[in-house]
């Protein structure tokens, strides 16, 4: 008979075995079970709520996107992208709507950089939409937490109606109606905040004849 291992060593072996057993149950079986059920019961949502146009995926209804004009010189990394006036514009994003790099600006409430960005955005958005700078809503001036926010406020959507209608040669009423259609109220009427889904709205706008 060999000498039994010291208690401390034995406790660590017990711990390792416990961790391995729990890893199999909680780290493998559990996520597989949830994946199996979700893929059957909520297939579309479990896979990312993809939106299709002409049969090809153009994005996810939950992940915001840029709507910019093609660059004049695609090889120039310094060229600032210009917003495409034919589309409703989303909120500013700290990561330029990169789906593989979510995150916020993390600039503080008194940050000079943030103050400068807010003032510049206010002037640029007001000129772009042809409105009074004082009326531009806060969500058009601030970056979201995820950098992927698919929603804008109804105020910001309404501000953009005339511009989009004019650029596309559509009656303003038609565009305003679409904004109403893609306005989502609070969940169950009181949870969270209302907003307009820019991804779905722009898809609907681009399908207008």
């Amino acid at each position: 008979m060999s000498k039994p291992l010291p208690t401390t060593i034995r406790t660590h072996f017990t711990a390792l075995r416990a961790l391995l057993v729990l890893t199999v149950i909680l780290g493998v079986a559990y996520p597989l079970l949830v994946t199996g059920i979700s893929q059957v019961a909520f297939n579309d949502k479990a896979n990312g709520s993809f939106v299709k146009a002409d049969g090809r995926p153009i994005g996810s209804s939950l992940i915001g996107q840029n709507y910019n004009l093609p660059k004049v010189n695609p090889d120039d990394p310094k060229e600032e992208p210009k917003p495409d006036p034919k589309f409703f514009q989303p909120r500013p994003s700290a990561n330029n709507y990169a789906g593989d790099n979510s995150g916020a600006s993390n600039l503080g409430p008194n940050s000079d950089d943030l103050l400068k960005a807010v003032n510049e955005r206010r002037a640029a958005v007001a000129e772009f939409d042809g409105v009074d700078p004082a009326g531009v809503p806060a969500d058009a001036l601030t970056a979201s937490g995820s950098g992927l926010d698919p929603y804008i406020s109804t105020a910001y959507a309404k501000e953009q109606v005339n511009r989009v209608a004019k650029e596309r040669g559509l009656p303003a009423d038609t565009v305003a109606k679409l904004v109403d259609e893609y306005t989502e109220g609070r969940s169950l009427g009181f949870l969270g905040n209302e907003g307009v889904n820019v991804v779905l709205l722009n898809k609907a706008i681009s399908e207008q004849k």
């Binding site: 961790l19 950098g147 926010d149």
Partner: protein, 554 residues
């Protein structure tokens, strides 16, 4: 409906749901912690890991089991993260540097989930689900196991046994965390949280750009990240990411999951000590702080203080449109008053006083209601101190629930109270004294100091949220914050288990007319006052240099 009314209704619905769960869930947890019956699958597990499920442990053995389990977990997780590029489902993620993997392993084992990496670019699916998510379960179970041992210290007499760690660990995972997780993972998946094993899908947008849409087993990890008050996001943006938290409904479900177990545990406590009124007194103190903090935070955010936020017209920087001010403030208060640290909006961009409150919430020691298990044991230690203070006032030997609080008990309680502030203040002080580490701040002046103070407060209290502007993926911060997390987790557990052992040995003293009743409003007030004074005196100078200075100067 106006925003203010909707915000109130939302908070009321949350409180109502938690109140409905208080009794049934608290009683259920009490039962699983006290019953002598094992499930068949549990007996199988005890056989596999080689423990006797019917043998209770002395407190040093219980502690040794906790420490051994944590040590093995850190090593296993470190190995899994470092080797993930050779394993399945890693999605081409490169190898993580050693100091960052060490920091991450400690962070998840210590129930902190501080993240110096970005989820979508640094973690494969296997490391997420078999490494990080497993620690989300088991580190939560460790917290509940430790508070179970402490409660047994009050309920047991003349014994040196405080329970069996392996039994507690197994039961809490299998009977409590897993069933709730399965149900709510499906609720989240039904509201749009993804659950698949895809990598990134390239899509071409309407304006011709290519966007990468991520995949992953998110719903199953999201639920335990919140239920276990862990907080480590699958993605860098955490619960602000639309794939982690897509709607106003999923947002309230997530806040509910954060608070569910911590607010039900006082019932478990009352049940186990045989006097439900004791549980009501504790939950009243927790509720008082939670309500006050949530209301103040919401008010501060709706005033949008700070030059940049004033210019924008609302404190929407770092906040999602689908949540707005009220739902973001509710989440922020709940995540920092527990040890969760998940965020649906970025605290660095909060107003000076709003952001200051998130730091203050963590400084309270995360007891209102606190992390799963850790919140209640922190609160019970403060209750011990409150009883002691009352005893000093009238010159009697203090007693709590029939147990005398003598020199030995008070030493453990005092050491508990001193541990976290020491780590926070020394760590912040050293970081501010080193020029290289000061340069890690993104913002300047008082706000930059707050970033460093927040980082150490978050790490030592095992919260895991951040004023995210600070650059922390450096050798120094990964190492220093890793040490803050592991000591901030294990040292308090040592003192709590020692206190449990010391209480369990005593013969209870009968209550007399001179005994301080610990279930009356008077005690609720006394305990609240002790909490404020202990925290206020400890942290006021540091808070004055950071959030208070910034708030007053803007």
């Amino acid at each position: 409906m106006g925003s203010t009314l909707a915000g109130w209704l939302q908070a009321l619905a949350l409180v109502g749901a938690l109140a409905l769960c208080y009794r049934p869930l608290g009683d259920y947890i009490a039962k699983l912690l006290t019953t002598s019956k094992h499930l068949r699958v549990e007996r199988g597990i005890y056989k596999l890991i080689g423990v006797d499920g019917d043998a209770d442990q002395r407190w040093p053995v219980y502690l040794r089991s906790v420490v051994a389990f944590s040590a093995v977990s850190v090593l296993f997780l470190y190995g899994l993260i470092r080797l993930q590029n050779f394993l399945l489902l890693n999605l081409g993620v490169p190898q993580m540097p050693g100091h960052q993997a060490w920091n991450t392993a400690i962070s998840f084992v210590a129930n902190t989930n501080w993240q110096s990496y970005a989820g979508e670019s640094a973690m494969g699916h296997l490391a997420q689900m078999a490494g990080l998510a497993v620690q989300n379960f088991v580190s939560a179970a460790v917290g509940i196991a430790v508070v179970a041992a402490l409660i047994r210290g009050f309920t047991r007499n003349r014994t040196d046994r405080v329970g069996n760690f392996w039994v507690d660990l197994t039961r809490i995972n299998l009977r409590l965390l897993l069933p709730i997780s399965i149900v709510f993972a499906l609720v989240l998946a039904a509201s749009g949280v993804i659950q698949n094993f895809h990598g990134f899908t390239d899509v071409t947008t309407l304006s011709g750009e290519v966007q990468k849409i991520p995949g992953g087993p998110v719903a199953s990890q999201e639920v335990i990240k919140l239920l276990g008050t862990n907080g480590g996001g699958f993605f860098n943006a955490n619960s602000a990411h639309p794939f982690e938290n897509p709607t106003g409904f999923s947002n309230l479900v997530e806040i509910f999951l954060i608070l569910l177990i911590p607010f039900a545990l006082p019932r478990t406590f009352g049940r186990m000590v045989g006097d439900n009124r004791q549980g009501y007194a504790i939950v009243a103190v927790m509720g008082l702080f939670w309500v006050a903090s949530t209301a103040l935070l919401t008010f501060a955010e709706s005033q949008h203080g700070g030059a940049a936020l004033q210019a924008a017209g609302a404190a929407m920087e770092g906040k999602e449109q689908r949540f707005g001010i009220a739902a973001s403030s509710l989440f922020a208060a709940s995540t920092t008053l527990t040890s969760t640290g998940a965020v649906n909006s970025f605290h660095d961009s909060f107003t000076p006083f709003g952001g200051g409150l998130t730091v203050f919430n963590m400084m309270l020691g995360e007891i209102a209601p606190g992390g799963v298990g850790s919140g209640l044991y922190g609160m019970l230690v403060l209750a011990v101190i409150a009883v002691f203070v009352a005893g000093l006032m009238v010159g009697r030997t203090p007693e709590y629930l029939g147990k005398k609080l003598g020199g030995r008990e008070m030493k453990f309680a005092s050491l508990y109270i001193l541990t976290t502030p020491t780590i926070v203040l020394v760590g912040t002080g050293v970081a501010m004294a080193l020029p290289g580490e000061r340069a890690g701040m993104l913002n300047s002046g008082a706000h930059g100091f707050s970033e460093v103070l927040y980082a150490f407060t978050s790490a030592a209290n095992n919260n895991g949220s951040a004023f995210g502007g600070i650059t922390v993926n450096t050798d120094w911060y990964d190492t220093a914050l890793g040490l803050a997390m592991i000591f901030g987790r294990l040292l308090p557990i040592v003192f709590v288990l020692a206190l449990a052992g010391s209480l369990a040995q005593q013969q209870p003293v009968p209550a007399t007319p001179g005994t301080l009743p610990t279930h009356k409003p008077l005690f609720v007030g006394l305990l609240s006052g002790v909490i404020l004074i202990v925290v206020g005196l400890t942290y006021f100078p540091a808070l004055a240099l950071g959030p208070i200075a910034e708030g007053l100067s803007s």
